[in-house]
């Protein structure tokens, strides 16, 4: 029986539930603890740094930017972000100095005895201030990136109705349960990095820029990432590297929760403007969309987040003319970055709220509006590519609509109860030419005992990579999963299969592994039983043939992309979601309870149904948090909600029973990691709008917001 499609129990479940799996902070450690000295102002020049003479700093290791041998730039898409500030600071929390000491207590004490004086500059704390350009933070317009795309012919507007609305979405904190943690291991002048991360090769390349040398980077068991451990660990790896190099000892740096919430990257807040033209049946004729993201103080991954927002901004609806103007601005707040969904949850909130608003404007059902605008064989996307998924999308829409009993519930109009839908897609893998630029590779090593070893850079961070990828390889080879070995990656020992992000692991890396496994199988020739397999392995290896089987990413013909004009089909494939939320509002305290939730998905072939359900359940929980609970508060550029007691995430009792289904088609597997985060907030916003007959256009919808809207 095929292993792909079975709910194989996670290979790491036992060591995780008995407490024996060692995360970074649990690893054997004998050395110094590190700490970061950070800016206390949002924008300014550093005038002086003084170490209190009455405090003994002699046994501390102190590092500043002058200790960097290579470039003081954390190069991702660009090189604007220094590892350590030199003369200027751009956000509260920007790293300036590093300290290390054997005692964590002394380290805390020492922080009180360092005085940094600044020449304050006007901080730019809001998107509007940034757009006003009175203070320039980046280039000559404060814009990190702009994208403009237009497709189709403008319609004759005279007989059309129009609707113009603003929507907004806030910061969101990833809140992986294990905080950012990194260790530098020192041995004979060389440093090896071990820690919590999503992308070991990103860390390796950041350290290469810092040192001019290839440093070995090893992933430790990682307690969640959700995007928050995509690019950020490069910084903290650099910090332990610099301290360890200077101290000639091991150094460990583990953020406490408040430090992690305050200074690491978050989801980009967005301001969205949707203007639509449609006829009296609700058929869309034109969409004019403006997207503004707050990028924070440095570029980091913002341009790619913006690109993904543009690609998802119009959903998959059929519309003759679509124009998108998108921009990401610089502010003096901590840099924003990757978070599950990566720009899509923001705009899906926009387009899906807007579809409901069109229905409200016409006095028809939101289902009718969606149905009229479902794509067909000639429909093209926001970037002018054919929407090949039109049949799948229609099937998913109809299945969910029926299963949830949407029409009857929507018509019922019960006071303080509402129902709402979100219909959406998510592109798997890197956008545009991204996958081609990554040029991912995989290795499969055949051992003489018949074991097959997966050697790639993709990581387990909770989503199930360590189980799903061996399932795919074992499936091709018709072997039990126990014959497949796969360890957490070390950059010195594995092929660079690209970062563990963008819902690409099963879809892209899994496909490459299938290819490599097929090559292996072909090399071995026919075998029936396991014993015959072992004979075939022995015979093959005895012949002295290559024991490593490789595969590398090659762009499929279907992906054609023109980055300059933002035109073409930007993805290898799309996964689809149709989510329905039912909500109840308490008329006394205005708390909102999601009473029922349908999460129906089409992700092609499901590799491991139990783990796939787990991804959806977790993603929906984060989406419900995004809609109703999670609120980051800044005051004068300082984060005011830096603790878990201030930043509420959903608890078990806050969540409804989820109805989850996969259409499970025989199409190749598509991405699933991000999809379930995209839809819940829009479905909930729509359900609340239905419940209270007043529009909820801005997240987070806290009880205070509901109360105000009901006044």
């Amino acid at each position: 029986m095929s292993l792909v499609g079975q709910s194989v129990v996670r290979v790491d479940a036992a060591s995780k539930s008995d407490g024996t799996l060692e995360y970074t902070d649990d690893l054997d450690f004998e050395g110094l603890y590190g700490a970061v000295v950070r800016s206390t102002i949002a924008h300014g020049n550093i005038l002086s740094i003084t170490f209190d003479e009455t405090f003994d700093f002699s046994d501390f290791v102190i590092v500043d930017h002058r200790d960097i041998e290579g470039r003081n730039a954390n190069v991702m898409l660009t090189d604007d972000q220094p590892f350590l500030a030199e003369t200027k600071v751009r956000f509260i929390g920007e790293p300036i100095l590093l300290l290390a000491h054997r005692s964590q207590r002394m380290l805390k004490e020492a922080l009180k005895h360092i005085d940094i004086t600044y020449e304050p500059l006007t901080p730019v704390l809001t998107v509007q201030e940034s757009l006003d350009c009175k203070t320039l933070l980046y280039g000559d317009d404060n814009l990190f990136k702009t994208i403009r795309t237009e497709k189709g012919e403008e319609p004759d507007y005279t007989a059309l109705k129009s609707l113009e609305k603003h929507y907004s979405t806030p910061h969101q904190e990833q809140l992986y349960m294990e905080t950012q943690s990194m260790i530098a291991r020192y041995c004979d002048g060389a440093v090896r990095i071990v820690g919590s991360m999503q992308c070991p090769f990103y860390v390796e390349s950041a350290l290469f820029a810092l040192t001019g040398k290839k440093i070995e980077v090893e992933q430790a068991p990682t307690g969640g990432g959700f995007g928050g451990k995509e690019d950020y660990p490069s910084l903290i790896a650099a910090y332990v590297y610099l301290l360890s190099k200077k101290a000639k000892q091991d150094v460990k740096l583990v953020y406490d929760r408040a430090e992690d919430i305050s200074f690491t990257t978050k989801r980009h807040p967005s301001a969205l403007h949707y203007k639509s033209h449609f006829d009296e049946t609700g058929k869309l004729h034109a969409l004019d969309i403006e997207i503004t993201l707050d990028g924070g103080a440095y570029v980091t991954l913002t341009p790619v987040v913006l690109a993904r927002a543009v690609l998802h901004a119009a959903g998959f609806y059929d519309c003759g003319y679509i124009k998108v103007d998108a921009r990401a601005v610089a502010t003096n707040t901590p840099p924003n970055g990757a978070f599950r969904g990566f720009g899509a949850p923001q705009v899906i909130f926009g387009i899906e709220r807007h579809m409901d608003d069109i229905a409200r404007c016409l006095g028809i059902s939101p289902m009718e509006v969606r149905e009229r605008n479902l794509p067909h064989s000639r429909s093209v996307s926001v970037t002018g590519a054919k929407i090949g998924e039109y049949t799948r999308l229609r099937t998913l829409f109809e299945t969910t609509r029926k299963a949830s009993g949407f029409d009857e519930k929507e018509a019922a109009g019960t006071p303080y109860k509402g129902i709402g839908m979100a219909l959406f897609m998510h592109g798997g893998g890197f956008t545009g030419e991204g996958e081609t630029l990554l040029a991912s590779k995989v290795w499969l090593d055949l051992h003489d005992n018949g074991m097959v070893e997966i050697r790639i850079g993709s990581v387990e961070m909770g989503q199930g990579t360590l189980t799903a990828l061996p399932q795919i390889v074992a499936d091709v080879l018709a072997l039990p999963i126990t014959m497949i070995r796969y360890h957490l990656p070390n950059t010195a020992k594995v092929a660079d299969s690209g970062p563990t992000v963008a819902s690409r692991t099963v879809m892209i890396v899994g496909e490459l592994l299938r290819e490599a496994a097929n090559a292996l199988k072909e090399a071995l020739g026919r075998y029936g039983s396991e014993a015959e397999y072992l004979d075939a392995v022995r015979a093959y290896l005895k012949s002295g043939a290559q024991s490593r089987f490789q595969a590398a990413y090659q762009k499929p013909d279907t992906v054609q992309w023109d980055e300059e004009h933002f035109y073409g089909n930007g993805y290898d494939g799309y996964s689809l979601g149709c989510y329905v939320a039912e909500v109840e509002v308490d008329p006394v305290d205005y708390r909102v309870r999601v009473s029922d939730f349908y999460a129906y998905n089409d992700v092609g072939k499901v590799v491991n149904p139990m783990m796939a359900e787990g991804q959806v359940e977790g993603g929906v929980a984060q989406g419900i948090g995004y809609a109703l609970y999670e609120r980051i508060a800044y005051q004068d550029g300082k984060l005011r909600s830096s603790r878990l007691s201030d930043y509420s995430v959903p608890l078990a009792a806050d969540l409804p029973k989820l109805h989850i289904a996969f259409l499970n088609t025989d199409e190749p597997s598509k991405g699933l990691g991000e999809l379930p985060m995209d839809g819940p907030a829009a479905a909930i916003g729509n359900a609340l709008t239905h419940a209270l007959d007043t529009a909820f256009d801005n997240l987070t919808i806290t009880p205070e917001v509901v109360e105000q809207k009901c006044r």
Binding site: S7, V9, R10, D12, A13, A14, S15, K16, S17, D18, G19, T20, L21, E22, Y23, D25, D26, R105, Q174, L175, Y176, M177, E178, T179, P221, T222, G223, G224, F226, V254, D256, R257, M461, G462, Q463, G464, M610, M611, E613, G614, V616, E617, G618, G619, V620, A621, Q622, R643, L644, S645, V649, L651, A652, A653, L655, K657, L658
Partner: protein, 147 residues
């Protein structure tokens, strides 16, 4: 200051600073199932039994350990075997960082209450945060452990 207490039925005698947290002390002594998640009693990753009561060890100070009986997941391996198996089988484990805390909470719930009502189970989990699973499979694993 010097502390004498028992941890997982073994007597311990050690020196510690008066302001140290129980969490840090038990981790230093090697009980690494006790994780540091938030440090303010919100997430439950550092749960352990303190004189028979399930507590967040980040909220207690080392001097409170004097004479106490402390039990961590390391000392409850046999008792939690069924729960842990069900966590694995039901898909209640993802990144795993919160899992030891949830296993402790599940064990405490089962020995003290044991109602299979999902609502009751969910309410019992209000001191534990999981950011990966959405809790549904954790609840199912706990209910299954009571059958």
């Amino acid at each position: 200051m010097q502390i004498r207490c028992t941890i997982n039925s073994r007597p311990y005698r050690f020196e510690c600073e008066p302001e140290e947290r129980l969490l840090d002390v038990v981790r230093r002594l090697g009980m690494l199932s006790v994780k540091k998640g938030c440090g303010e009693g919100e997430c439950g990753t550092c749960s352990l039994f303190f004189n028979g009561k399930l507590v967040n060890s980040c909220l207690l100070l080392a001097p409170q350990m004097q004479g106490a009986e402390i039990v961590t997941l390391e000392g409850l391996q046999k008792e939690t075997e069924t729960i842990r198996e069900n966590f694995a089988k039901e898909g209640a484990v993802q990144c795993g960082f919160c899992t030891p805390g949830f296993v402790m909470r599940a064990y405490d719930y089962i020995i003290h209450e044991g109602s299979k009502d999902e609502k009751r189970v969910k309410e019992a989990l209000d001191g534990n945060i999981c950011r990966c699973t959405g809790y549904q499979k954790i609840v199912e694993a706990i209910v299954k452990s009571m059958s």
